[in-house]
Symmetry: C2
Subunit: 490 residues, 2 copies
């Protein structure tokens, strides 16, 4: 059973309601399959109109949706209003991308007379929507990575029907956002199967959806455990389908001596703020801070610990997430190699306290448990004696959504080697600011080597997210009537 819960009080709100049954899930997928061809054949303009209408509808219900989201997630009105803005911006952004003709672009190679390899037939590469997409919502972005978030926007833009798996931590917001979206789909003259919801807190619901034969691709944002389990299910289907999983990461942030010396105090405050933002419930929250051992770096660590000590994260998204955070912190506290710097444990009924501990590079590298994310306002300061040790720390982490390098403004063998190591393990490398906050733009890449993503060549944020749902097909010697469709599927 599903139950809306007030995140701050832990009290249930309203009646329980049932999970989707296997038959209901099959029905949602069947509806998506039934309309897939017709939706694939819509024009880019029709889908752009749908996306813009969804943005308008979201904004039109802003007050009630944000209030409901705040009750179910505890993320606070300013953040949630900003997140709704971003979600609407993103829907409109994909509409703009459709207007530019990207979805139906044709790579046209004219025929060349003569024998191969120079001679060739006419080949035109188009892209076809992959088909019905299962979209697994995340708990930590109830708008931007939930019902009408980036994955949904990208799939609809591509011409793929979407079956949303709602997140059980915000079930009432999910239902209301889906109702809104379904109204828009109908008003745009599109069939209902374009957009369906399945809901449930049990693993069985997600597994049944991921195994449904009609599903042709899966988008997922969530935990490492859930994501790797679903990835395996996607790969073990009689017909495997792409599984685009964004599983979070520890987002190492390297503070080079140059940065600690130049403006260490300011950076310490910025970093502490990033770690406590949204109670640390971001896939891009910095979890490993790599700092060398010198006077300026020591001062930075002291200022950073002091700044973090002074901050108070808000209530976490759910009691389950809070419990996992408390266990992660307890695990760290029982690790002999860690020296706590900020250790404000809190009662489960009170908001969480940030946690920070220091560890020597060699101990960090040797202990694989320390490379795992603790989701929430918790981080490790890893002290390194040299650039070589910093490189070894990055390599031990192995895969991350982001790496941040502060103080790499001057080119040197050291900064080059750090950039090299950072680009080898991350999908985004920052040289200023903090990794929390992911701009929605064409050049964005949100995804990194395992365990950050299951498909690190793809992105789940930014307009290249569209590429996950458009499969290339080469048309050889296509007849005139097909050429005249200019890349729009039949």
């Amino acid at each position: 059973m599903l139950q809306s819960v007030d995140a701050r009080t832990g009290s249930p709100v309203g009646a329980q309601f049932p999970e989707s049954t296997p038959a209901e899930i099959d029905q949602a997928v069947a509806a998506a399959v039934a309309v897939a061809d017709a939706f694939a054949a819509t024009s880019a303009a029709q889908r752009a109109s749908l996306l813009r209408a969804l943005a308008v509808a979201l904004e039109g219900s802003r007050e009630s949706l944000v209030a409901l989201a705040d009750r179910e997630t505890g993320l606070g009105l300013p953040r949630l209003n900003g997140e709704l803005d971003r979600t609407a911006f993103q829907l409109r952004g994909f509409a703009d991308v459709l207007d530019q003709g990207i979805a139906h672009a044709v790579v046209d190679d004219p025929a060349v007379a003569g024998a191969p390899p120079v001679g060739r037939p006419r080949l035109a590469k188009v892209r076809v929507p992959v088909g019905p997409v299962a979209m697994f919502s995340a708990s930590n972005f109830p708008f931007a990575f939930s019902v009408l978030g980036g994955d949904t926007a990208a799939a609809l833009a591509a011409g793929c029907p979407v079956v949303v798996k709602g997140h059980p931590a915000h079930p009432e917001l999910t239902r209301q956002t889906v109702a809104l979206a379904q109204g828009v789909v109908a008003a745009e003259g599109l069939p209902a199967g374009v957009f369906s919801l399945v809901q449930g807190g049990s693993i069985a619901v997600g597994v049944h959806l991921a195994q449904a034969p009609g599903i042709t691709a899966i988008a997922f944002t969530g935990s490492f455990k859930g994501g790797t389990a679903l990835a395996k299910i996607a790969a073990d289907r009689p017909r495997p389908v792409p599984f685009y999983g964004e599983l979070g990461s520890v987002n190492p942030l390297v503070v080079l001596p140059a940065a600690a010396e130049k403006n260490g105090a300011e950076l310490a405050n910025t970093l502490a703020g990033s770690i406590c933002l949204g109670a640390g419930q971001f896939c891009t929250s910095p979890g490993v801070i790599v700092v060398q051992k010198d006077a300026a770096s020591d001062a930075f660590v002291a200022a950073f610990a002091q700044a973090l000590q002074a901050l108070q994260p808000h209530t976490m998204l759910s009691s389950a997430i809070r419990s996992t955070f408390d266990k992660g912190v307890a695990r760290w506290k029982s690790t002999a190699s860690l020296k706590p710097l900020v250790d404000g444990s809190a009662e489960a009924s009170a908001p969480p306290r940030p946690f920070l501990a220091e560890v020597q590079a060699a101990d960090f590298i040797a202990d694989h448990n320390l490379h795992e994310e603790v989701f929430g306002s918790a981080a490790l300061v890893v002290r390194t004696a040299s650039v070589e040790e910093t490189l070894a720390v990055l390599r031990a982490i192995g895969g991350s959504l982001t790496v941040t390098l502060w103080g790499a403004e001057t080119e040197s063998e050291a900064t080059r080697s750090l950039v090299r190591a950072a680009t080898q393990i991350a999908g985004r490398v920052l040289f200023a600011g903090v990794p929390t906050g992911v701009a929605v733009t064409t050049a964005q890449h949100h995804g990194g080597p395992f365990p950050a993503s299951t498909q690190p060549f793809t992105t789940s944020v930014g307009y290249a997210a569209l590429d996950r749902f458009l499969r290339p097909v080469a048309l050889q010697d296509a007849p005139d009537w097909l050429v005249a469709r200019k890349g729009v599927p039949c």
Copy 2:
């Protein structure tokens, strides 16, 4: 032990030589890892020079290599000379693509002032070479999908060191081509680790290579059985890596009544030739011919069977492949629903005879065994009573490198639905000619839904093959010195 064998006589030539040991495989991977950063940081011009020098070297040793390939594969001099031409053309083609700046292209989004979601930092998306690539050679293209084939060309173009797993069916050609390539690598002033060979006929060699921690991507062309086994190994590594497997398919070819009426006799000859080309040992060989039931179609089937009966395929690549072909044909012959049309069984010591049988659509759809490829000059004619049944046949096949539609020149609901079904299950859809022969060009897409490929959004032929080895990374607020590198890795 490895042994060069004369494909036509089955006689061993020269002495046996040992497989690569685990230590030797580790050494090859370690050498690739050691040079990966330096090779990634080469300019596009340096890599283009390498590719062109490899093409020149191949052509310079044409006579001896083609003679050796002919002895080890039995594919014949004209075909092998053509294949060498294609391989050199492809190496030069990737060099041209590098000259165009594609590998180091930067997607640059300038900073926008103001608060998010509109405001954003500067983001520049570049691509970084993924790292050492394990390349599994195929037996059926001893040049174009072997040591210096498309996968190697694409990986080297991307800036990735390559560890070639040689195919045991042409071990001496493999050794000589590798020696040639290693000479070119040295002459170009590049470190030896850029290009290594491991060899062996046992499964253990491939498994050890696929599991080597230093390998960051795997390219494979070969059987369904071998490819799916290696795909699982790649996914089960502690750090999974992309597995680009091209596993072959049945390549349905639909002869619509319009085509059968217009020039059925000519098409029948063309099709028979395609099935016997290279003794049917192409991943794009047409294995399922879908023909409706009307007078023109009946005449086409009769002419096609007659044309096929008159052809004599040459010796197959190896006794193992021949044995698998014979078993596949025997399985078909024991299937009650099949009516043999061309059934010239041959002694194992003689070249194979083509095989053709007719089956009704309903029987084909119901029998999953019939959807599996029989590698060689063997095909099924599936008779359908309607376009709907033809669509059902295509959907039952589910995934293929190619679908060919003959007679779709006129737009109608029927041709639209056929194009739709074809693009949904294939990576390339042809409207004239035969699927054997794959042009190397930008618009090519060689890859299709499972079981044709393990990564159907990517291609193993054509210049987009490069995309498999270049992983996107977004640089946020990059310092000037890094911007000045214009996308070239550090």
